[in-house]
């Protein structure tokens, strides 16, 4: 295993390509928040307090629609529910850390930090069970998470300052989908993962107009469920 600092730097390096998709997304959020009438200070604070891109953009849409406060909070909760699945996925790797480290890494557990970190945990084997303190992979997580956090705050600020200089016709919001395409393709290694993705894609289309973004949750749960059925079938054969 490499040193703590080595792991930290490798985490930052792994996150760098992802930032190409994140930075325009953060800028778009900044622009959208201002045009929704959110004051610059609140728009910037939201990037630190909520720290979840798609939920933040949904929130700006709800502000424009004068949605009641309780519905706004409920919507953010539902849009971010997928993070519970990331939390469960990371939990076994983080259980021996001290509470402070757990709180810090939980705060940094975004789509983008999770995506590179879980790949790192899968690729780099755990050290001997006899000396678990040799496992320094949490520093990789910290590096990836902080790289994403800093660029999210900075790109929000740039978006707030630039305002509407970048025309909407550039469609920079599409970089979000492109980033996720680049992340999802390598995960489609076997039949069960392919089935999970295909099912989730179809359900997401069919359920897109459900309220409160419930279509996303439905797509994820059905995708995982059908994928598990396919996997069980392959295991029993």
């Amino acid at each position: 295993m490499t040193s703590r600092f080595g792991q930290f730097i490798r985490g930052i390096q792994a996150e760098l390509p992802i930032l190409i998709g994140v930075v325009p997304f953060g800028m778009i959020y900044g622009v959208l928040a201002l045009s929704a009438g959110i004051p610059p200070a609140a728009a910037q604070a939201m990037s630190a307090i909520v720290f979840a891109g798609s939920a933040q953009i949904v929130l700006t849409q709800l502000v424009v629609a004068s949605t009641p406060a309780l519905v706004m909070i409920l919507t953010v909760f539902v849009v971010n529910l997928r993070h519970a699945l990331y939390s469960a996925s990371m939990a076994p790797h983080l259980q021996r850390l001290n509470p402070f480290f757990k709180l810090l890494l939980a705060y940094l557990l975004t789509d983008e930090a999770y995506a590179v970190t879980i790949l790192h945990y899968e690729k780099v084997p755990a050290p001997d069970a006899d000396c678990p303190e040799d496992d320094r992979r949490q520093w990789f997580f910290l590096g990836a998470g902080l790289a994403l956090w800093s660029s999210w705050q900075l790109s929000t600020a740039v978006g707030i300052f630039l305002g509407a200089i970048v025309p909407a016709s550039w469609e920079l919001d599409f970089t979000l989908a492109l980033t996720f395409i680049a992340l999802v393709v390598p995960t489609l290694k076997d039949r069960s993962a392919q089935t999970a993705a295909a099912t989730a894609g179809v359900v997401a289309l069919l359920a897109f107009h459900l309220p409160y973004k419930l279509g996303l949750i439905a797509a994820a749960l059905l995708g995982v469920g059908i994928g598990l059925l396919v996997e069980r079938k392959a295991l029993t054969q």
């Binding site: 190409i20 789509d111 999770y114 469609e171 989908a177 894609g201 997401a204 994928g227």
Partner: protein
């Protein structure tokens, strides 16, 4: 605007609680093998559920025609991602393709 600050703070705490949930709860206990298999399928399912509407439902309406630049650019980007496994190249090719398609398509 005071209300909005409270919306942000409560939303932020809720998001943090979701992210912390299992990390704090599981503690020393082991995760069951079936749960581990299920969790491995979460990223392909969630990411695809976000990608597909972005490509096929521009503006909220289903568009599977060849005039949908996002569909063509996304398909090309998926091909690049599959062949090269390169995140930066995937994004660059996808965006340039989207602009080209928009310039060429009706």
């Amino acid at each position: 605007m005071t209300t909005f600050w409270w919306v942000m703070i409560v939303s932020g705490l809720a998001t943090f609680a979701i992210r912390l949930s299992f990390i704090l709860l599981i503690g020393e206990r082991e995760v069951a093998p079936w749960a581990r298999r299920a969790l491995r399928l979460v990223p392909p399912a969630v990411l695809t559920a976000i990608i597909v509407p972005e490509m096929l439902l521009p503006g909220g309406e289903l568009d599977v025609s060849l005039s949908n630049g996002r569909l063509l650019a996304g398909a090309l980007a998926a091909l690049v991602a599959w062949r090269t496994r390169n995140v930066v190249l995937t994004i660059v090719v996808g965006m340039v393709a989207l602009w080209l398609f928009k310039a060429v398509l009706p």
